[in-house]
C-alpha cells in the first residue's frame, strides 16, 4: 500500500491504463502543457507526448463531441472537464450522443469514453461554480456515473471506468485532490463499478453518503458514537448503477436511514435512494428516511453562507437522532 493524494491516485490510474493501451488518450483544457488546472495530469504530457495528452480550446461541446466520435472510431478517450460546472455547455454531447448512439444504432457501436473532472461545491466560488451534477447525469440510461470518496476507490474505479466499454461520468472534487490515503499498489488493481462499500459497521442507523459527503458521514458517526449511537456508514461509490441491495441489507439491520448528499435537494440522488429503500424495505423502516443536503438555493460566495449552505456533521447527527426518536 502506498500513501497517495487523490490526484496522484487518479493520475496513476490514467498512466497505468495508458501504458497498457495505446488507444487511450487524455484531452481537455490545460491538461497538457499546464499539467492540469488542478495538477491531476502533471507529467503526463512529458510521458506520453502531445499525441495522447492534448490541450483544447475552451470548447466543451466541441471536444466533448470529438471524444464521442473518437470513441466511435475505435479509441478510448478520457475527456477532462476543468470542472463539471462547465459540462453544461457540452451536455448535449453526453446525454444525446454518448448515452444514446449505441441504442439508436441497435447496438452496432460501443462508446468507451470517460468524462472526468471535479464535481460539486468547492468553496467560495459562487453559484455557477458549485453545481452537483450526479443526479442530472444518473438520470440518463446509457451512462454510468461514479463518485469516489477516497484515493483507493478513485484509482480502482477510474481504471475500471477506462476499461468499461460504456460511457462513464467520473466525478471528482477540487477540495479532495490533496486528500491522502492508502492506495493498493496491486499490479492490476481495479474495483467493480456498481458495488457499494460498507465503510463502517453499525447497528442503530444507516448513513449513505458519497464523495465529499462521505467524510461528513464519518464525522457524524464519530460524534454519534461518543453518544453511544452506532451508525453504519455506506459509501455507494457508484451512483449509476446504484447498489441498493447493500443499503437494503443494512436497513434491515438498523431499521433507519439517513442520506447525506451535497446536491441541491429536489430530485437528487438522495431522492432516488429514498424512493428505492422505502419501496424495497418498507416493513423494516422504523422511521421516515431523512436526508441532509445543500440548501435549496444557489451557492453563495460569503464564507459563512457557503458553510451554512453545505451539509454539516451536526445536521447529520440531528437527522440520525430524529430517525432514532432520540430528540
Amino acid at each position: 500500500m502506498a500513501e497517495l493524494q487523490f490526484r496522484e491516485a487518479l493520475r496513476a490510474a490514467m498512466v497505468e491504463e495508458m501504458e497498457r493501451d495505446e488507444t487511450i488518450f487524455l484531452m481537455g483544457e490545460e491538461v497538457a502543457e499546464y499539467n492540469g488546472a488542478y495538477k491531476v495530469s502533471e507529467g503526463m504530457l512529458d510521458q506520453f507526448g502531445p499525441k495522447r495528452v492534448i490541450d483544447t480550446p475552451i470548447s466543451e461541446s466541441g471536444f466533448g463531441g470529438l471524444g464521442v466520435g473518437a470513441a466511435l472510431g475505435g479509441l478510448r478517450p478520457i475527456i477532462e472537464f476543468m470542472t463539471f460546472n462547465f459540462s453544461f455547455v457540452g451536455i448535449d454531447q453526453i446525454i444525446n450522443n454518448a448515452a444514446k448512439i449505441r441504442y439508436m444504432s441497435g447496438g452496432q457501436f460501443k462508446i468507451p469514453i470517460v468524462f472526468r473532472g471535479p464535481n460539486g461545491a468547492a468553496g467560495q466560488l459562487g453559484a455557477t461554480h458549485n453545481t452537483s451534477t450526479e443526479a442530472l447525469y444518473a438520470y440518463f440510461p446509457g451512462l454510468k456515473v461514479i463518485a469516489p470518496s477516497n484515493p483507493d476507490d478513485a484509482k480502482g474505479l477510474l481504471k475500471s471506468a477506462i476499461r468499461d466499454d460504456n460511457p462513464v461520468i467520473f466525478l471528482e472534487s477540487e477540495v479532495m485532490y490533496s486528500l491522502t490515503g492508502e492506495v493498493s499498489d496491486e499490479a492490476d488493481y481495479t474495483l467493480p463499478i456498481g458495488k457499494a462499500r460498507i465503510a463502517r459497521e453499525g447497528d442503530d442507523v444507516t448513513i449513505v453518503a458519497h464523495s465529499k459527503s462521505y467524510w461528513v458521514a464519518l464525522k457524524a458517526a464519530d460524534e454519534l458514537a461518543s453518544e453511544g449511537i452506532s451508525a453504519e456508514v455506506i459509501d455507494p461509490r457508484t451512483i449509476r448503477p446504484f447498489d441498493f441491495d447493500t443499503v437494503v441489507d443494512s436497513v434491515k439491520k438498523t431499521n433507519r436511514l439517513v442520506i447525506i448528499d451535497e446536491s441541491n435537494p429536489f430530485a437528487s440522488v438522495s431522492s432516488e435512494v429514498a424512493f428505492q429503500i422505502q419501496a424495497r424495505a418498507f416493513d423494516y423502516l422504523d422511521a421516515p428516511i431523512q436526508r441532509v443536503t445543500a440548501k435549496d438555493v444557489p451557492a453563495p460566495y460569503a464564507k459563512n453562507l457557503i458553510e451554512y449552505y453545505m451539509p454539516r456533521a451536526e445536521e447529520a447527527v440531528d437527522a440520525c437522532k430524529r430517525v432514532l426518536y432520540a430528540k
Binding site: 463531441g65 448535449d92 439508436m104
Partner: protein, 389 residues
C-alpha cells in the same frame, strides 16, 4: 514539449493552406504571442474560393468509366424511388414519426460515395440520412425495415428514419440534434489520424446547422488539430421554413472558412459530376490532413418532413428548381454523350422500382422487435441492473 505541441497544432498548415485568408496573420501578430504594438495602418484580408459549377465536367476527365456513371445514375434513382415509396408507406401509416426526404439532393450523396473509400472513410450526417446511407451501400431492405420499426432494420427498429447507422460501411448516423453530430464527425477524423489508417471523415449538415455554436467549435478543432475532416454544408436553401438569409447574417456560408483558416469551395449540388469532382479534391486535401469546408448549393424538393404546408416558398420557385433535378441532368448527360439510351435507363428505373418494392415486402414480413429487446443495446453488458420499480 511546448514546442512539440505547437508543432502538432500548427505543423504543416501554412504549407497546405490554399484559398485562405491566412496571409495577414503575420502582419498583425508579431513573433510569439503578438505584441499588440505591431499593427499596420490597415489590415486587408483577401481570399479566393474555388467553385464547382454545373454542366462543367467530363466524367472521363474525372476518371469515371461509362459503366461507373450508369451505376451512379442507378444509385441516385434508388434513393429517389426508395423515398417516394417511403412517403407512400408513411401515408399508409406503415411508417411514423419524422420522415425527412432527401429528394433533390441525391447528386451529393452519390458523388460522395463514389469519391470516397467505402469501408475505410467515415461518414456522419443529420436526420436527412436515407440518401447517403443507400449511396454507401446500406441495403434498401434493412433501411425500409428500419422505417417500419422492424427487427431486421438497420438499428433493429430502435432508430427509425433519423437514425440510420452502418458499422460495416462506417456510416455513423443519422443524428437528430441539429449541429450535434458535427463535432462527432471531427472526432471520427481524429481517430483516423490517431490510428494512421489513412481514412478521412466527411461530416454532412444543413444550412441551418451552421448557426449552431457546435459548428463553430468543431470547425476550429478540425483546423487546429489538422484533422482529415471535411465539413460539408448541404445548403438546400431552407431550414424548415427559414431561408438561409433569414438565419445567417452572412448567407454566403462558405465564408465561415475564413474564421478557421481552412480552404473552402462552393459547389453546384444539383450536378453530380460537380459534386464528385469537389469531393475528390477535398478528400485529397483531407488525406494530407488538411481539413476543409464545402458549401453544396442544393434544393429540397419536398417539405421539411411529412407535415409541411410549405407556405414559405412559391410554386414558381419550386417549378423553376425542377429544371435543376440532378437525376434528369445526369440522364441527359448519359443520353447526349451516348453513354446510355432511354431504353436502358428506363429498364434501370424498372429494376430499381422492383428492388424498392421488394424492400417494402421485406419490411412488411420482418417481425416487430420482441419486447425484451427494449433492454438490449443500452449498455454493452447484458446484466446491467435496470431500475424496474
Amino acid at each position: 514539449m511546448a514546442s512539440e505541441t505547437k508543432n502538432r497544432n500548427k505543423g504543416k498548415r501554412s504549407a497546405a493552406r490554399v484559398n485562405v485568408a491566412g496571409e495577414e496573420n503575420v502582419a498583425t501578430r508579431a513573433a510569439g504571442n503578438g505584441s499588440p504594438i505591431a499593427l499596420p495602418d490597415v489590415v486587408e484580408v483577401k481570399a479566393t474560393f474555388k467553385t464547382y459549377q454545373a454542366e462543367n465536367y467530363d466524367h472521363k476527365k474525372l476518371g469515371l468509366t461509362d459503366e461507373q456513371l450508369v451505376d451512379m445514375y442507378r444509385n441516385m434513382l434508388l434513393q429517389r424511388r426508395f423515398e417516394e415509396r417511403a412517403a407512400q408507406m408513411y401515408g399508409k401509416q406503415k411508417i411514423a414519426g419524422f420522415l425527412h426526404l432527401y429528394i433533390g439532393e441525391e447528386a451529393i450523396s452519390t458523388g460522395t460515395a463514389w469519391a470516397m473509400k467505402i469501408g475505410l472513410d467515415s461518414v456522419i450526417t443529420g436526420y436527412r440520412d436515407h440518401g447517403i446511407a443507400l449511396a454507401m451501400g446500406v441495403s434498401p431492405n434493412a433501411g425500409m425495415a428500419e422505417l417500419f420499426g422492424k427487427i431486421d432494420g438497420t438499428s433493429r427498429g430502435k432508430g427509425g428514419s433519423m437514425h440510420f447507422f452502418s458499422a460495416e460501411k462506417r456510416m455513423y448516423g443519422g443524428h437528430g440534434i441539429v449541429g450535434g453530430h458535427i463535432a462527432v464527425g471531427v472526432g471520427l477524423a481524429f481517430a483516423h489520424k490517431y490510428k494512421e489508417d489513412g481514412g478521412v471523415c466527411m461530416t454532412f449538415f444543413g444550412d441551418g446547422a451552421v448557426n449552431q455554436g457546435s459548428f463553430h467549435e468543431a470547425a476550429n478543432l478540425a483546423s487546429l488539430y489538422e484533422l482529415p475532416a471535411i465539413l460539408i454544408i448541404e445548403n438546400n436553401q431552407y431550414a424548415m421554413g427559414t431561408s438561409v438569409d433569414r438565419a445567417a447574417a452572412e448567407p454566403d456560408l462558405f465564408k465561415q472558412a475564413l474564421g478557421y483558416n481552412i480552404p473552402a469551395s462552393v459547389v453546384n449540388g444539383m450536378d453530380m459530376l460537380a459534386c464528385y469532382a469537389a469531393m475528390k479534391d477535398h478528400i485529397a486535401l483531407a488525406r494530407d490532413n488538411q481539413p476543409s469546408l464545402i458549401e453544396m448549393r442544393t434544393y429540397r424538393y419536398r417539405g421539411h418532413s411529412m407535415s409541411d404546408p410549405q407556405k414559405y416558398r412559391t410554386k414558381e420557385e419550386m417549378e423553376a428548381k425542377k429544371h435543376d433535378d440532378p437525376i434528369i441532368r445526369l440522364k441527359a448527360y448519359l443520353v447526349n454523350n451516348k453513354i446510355s439510351g432511354n431504353e436502358e435507363l428506363d429498364r434501370i428505373d424498372d429494376e430499381v422500382k422492383q428492388e424498392v418494392m421488394e424492400a417494402v415486402d421485406f419490411a412488411e414480413k420482418s417481425p416487430v422487435p420482441p419486447l425484451e429487446t427494449i433492454y438490449e443495446d443500452v449498455y454493452v453488458e447484458n446484466d446491467y441492473p435496470f431500475l424496474t420499480d
